[in-house]
Symmetry: C2
Subunit: 210 residues, 2 copies
């Protein structure tokens, strides 16, 4: 089988940089990019659809997946388990699907070990002062949490060169277009186009004239 | 001196693929990309501005530039000379300017020898049939010229994998956004951003907290 055509995008940002809004806007503009769906042992809530919001599995199934080494990363939160499945991602890439992972930088490092071609995108705030303003504006965190988040942000920004792309979210609309451009441009690379449109280009080349 | 920040974009397309309209639209949307200005011995026509439409030089100056090996490529057309100057491009790149060259594939090969980092973009028609329809629709070429252009197009498409990006111009607006995305995304690569915004990221990192 050919190398998969799909890309993995890993979007990482310090808390308060606006990642969730930007990713939502990207997925809306580029529906061909699919948000990675986690596996979870949490019972489905009303309205949640298996395979859309989560892959809902029981604890025995989840444990078997851990044992098989299926998870790129997994964690326990309030007694429920959540994990990202490598075989699921691989199956999506193989049919040409682009996948987006919204994870933290430790998760990103894990994913890159298994998928070295994954494309890392870091969303940076325009300044630490602005990040602090946004975090305080949310009015949800204690002073201690805010200071911890700011310290984490500084540490994450020290590692910014490890990503493939950096989007500075000073203006939402501009940052949105930046994110869309990254995804569009990756699909236009000739190795991707030549694989996707091989038959068309063969027909248009000198071979097609015979 | 640091490596120049500016990029060279080389846009190549078979005749009739819609290159000129697309490049014009790109330059309008992204004014920070500058069309390469050729040197010419042709006398300036009414309204033409030196340094904007061409760098107008006399034959002696042009010859001296040939002798110095300044030209990436040059050609004689109806007794006048036209050429692309490597030192001029280099001076623009060094101040962070992005340059776009609208040349043919032989020119592109020449440029890549001197600037291996130049980014090659090929604009493909959606099909040879559509290209033929467009060429006939222009109603400017003889049957012989049309057939020659179609044969050249097939030969150029055989070499499509040598480019960095391929944009298929089936829908103008989509192709326009594709071209803009390529330029935007190049600027978002972390090596570009880390150089351009070094001071900002240093201040935002742990070093800035001390």
């Amino acid at each position: 089988m050919d190398q998969p055509i799909g890309n993995i995008y890993i979007v990482v940002a310090p808390s308060g940089a606006g990642k969730t809004s930007l990713v939502t806007a990207l997925l809306q503009a580029e529906p061909s990019v699919e948000l990675s769906i986690s596996y979870s042992t949490r019972p489905a809530r009303k309205g949640e659809i298996d395979g859309k919001h989560y892959h809902f599995v029981d604890k025995a199934t989840f444990d078997a997946m851990i044992d098989r080494g299926d998870f790129l990363e997994y964690a326990e939160v309030y007694g429920n388990y959540y994990g990202t499945s490598a075989p699921w991602i691989r199956s999506r890439l193989e049919v040409g699907q682009d996948i987006l992972l919204e994870i933290d930088w430790q998760g990103a490092e894990q994913v890159r070990k298994v998928f070295p071609g994954a494309i890392g995108i870091f969303i940076a705030p325009p300044s630490i002062e602005e990040l602090e303003r946004r975090l305080r504006g949310r009015d949800t965190d204690t002073e201690e949490v805010i200071l911890r988040r700011l310290a984490s942000a500084r540490a994450e920004i020290d590692k910014i060169a490890e990503y493939d792309y950096i989007v500075v979210n000073d203006d939402f609309e501009r940052a949105r277009l930046d994110l869309i451009s990254i995804v569009r441009a990756r699909r236009l690379r000739s190795e991707v186009q030549c694989r996707r449109l091989a038959e068309m280009f063969r027909h248009m080349g000198t071979a097609g004239a015979q």
